[in-house]
Symmetry: C2
Subunit: 217 residues, 2 copies
Amino acid sequence: MTAVVRSRSPRGEGDRLREEILAATQRLLMETGSAEAVSIRAVARAVGVTSPAIYRHFEDKDRLLLEACREKFQDLQVALEAAEPQKVPVGERMLVMGRSYIDFALENPESYRIMFMTRFDMSAQHFAEEMMGDRCFMILLDSVTDLIDAGLVRPELADKGALHVGGLFWASIHGLASLLIAKPGLPWPDREQLITDLLHATVRGIQVAPKPSRRRS
Amino acid sequence: MTAVVRSRSPRGEGDRLREEILAATQRLLMETGSAEAVSIRAVARAVGVTSPAIYRHFEDKDRLLLEACREKFQDLQVALEAAEPQKVPVGERMLVMGRSYIDFALENPESYRIMFMTRFDMSAQHFAEEMMGDRCFMILLDSVTDLIDAGLVRPELADKGALHVGGLFWASIHGLASLLIAKPGLPWPDREQLITDLLHATVRGIQVAPKPSRRRS
DNA sequence: TGTACATCAGTGAACGCGCGTTCACTGATGTAC
DNA sequence: TGTACATCAGTGAACGCGCGTTCACTGATGTAC
């Protein structure tokens, strides 16, 4: 944008440029929507620095992209945690958490694409999965476990464990989020309704059927 | 692979090379899993021809990728149609069709990625959506319509139309297919069970609850 | 049947490009004396 | 307070690469006579 005149960072503050590089990388990822389209040179250009300067802060391109994504995984984690405080009753957590997840995806479409819709370069993939498994999926898994413990999951699914049930749930919400991102040009009917209905249908398919006639608590 | 010695196609048979180019493009797409990674030069190399020869058969790179995908959409269409003859009872069509869809995705992971997990270059996107909307989604839509007509869809969903219900179903099955493709390294529990359970949970979330006590047909 | 020729599928060389990465360097900054 | 100097954040030029695309061409093939 505006050609900012950079002054060199003082001795101890190399981190300033590092942060600017990460921010620019995330911005470019969002604008282009493709890890391959984001070049070291473009990032350097965006920051207002020459490309070799990047290498003082990041080992290579993979590393830079990896770090940029790590920050986004943290953002997702915060979104999921905020949506799942102990305040939300166990029976509604999946709905609330699913909603947060889809909102995150739609608010960060290009980051989401890179995080969940592409395959990373091998070494980087391991890291990404580490990051993801480490926290975000664990948050989901904890909720599922609580749901199972509360006896709210259909027994034939609950028997297969929280990982299995969590996978089903994740698949559904990821499916809608990723389709909306990948095919924005399709004649989607009312988006809000679609999200709400998908969440309810998914939960309905996983949780035990309410038994209105037998006992009504 | 083997360095096939090509003889030039006789006058009228330019289509022979054209078909070979398309086949090689699809093969490369499958191997690399990225439209950007498939280069005109690599395709030419694979076919055993120089790169300018490609241009006698395809206007440019976009066009080549587009044609390659069009063929895959036809394959998907065949898969969906084979799974949905008039033999399958209406109440089971979603299960059978969903299974075919996921099987297609897992058997053609890299094509599937390009067809449904990436955003095409603008002009190409329109074509891809045309192709897709034109047939594959219509097949799904017809089944949903039949399901609604049979009174098997929960009324609050049926009211919103076949497009809405079809979108929900597509989102779910696409979600599982695309996650399995994008994150093959994750510790997925039993894949077969996951697919089966997802299909059943999705259908359960969309169709009317069976009413065993009131009336049993 | 034999020959000259037009056709056109495919070639080979070249273009300009942006890429990731390396290297020796520069010159403002903070510090030691 | 003043000066010499080591540090090190960032520079500028260059490397080799593969890319999409163009251009004038070649030479086997089918056809007209």
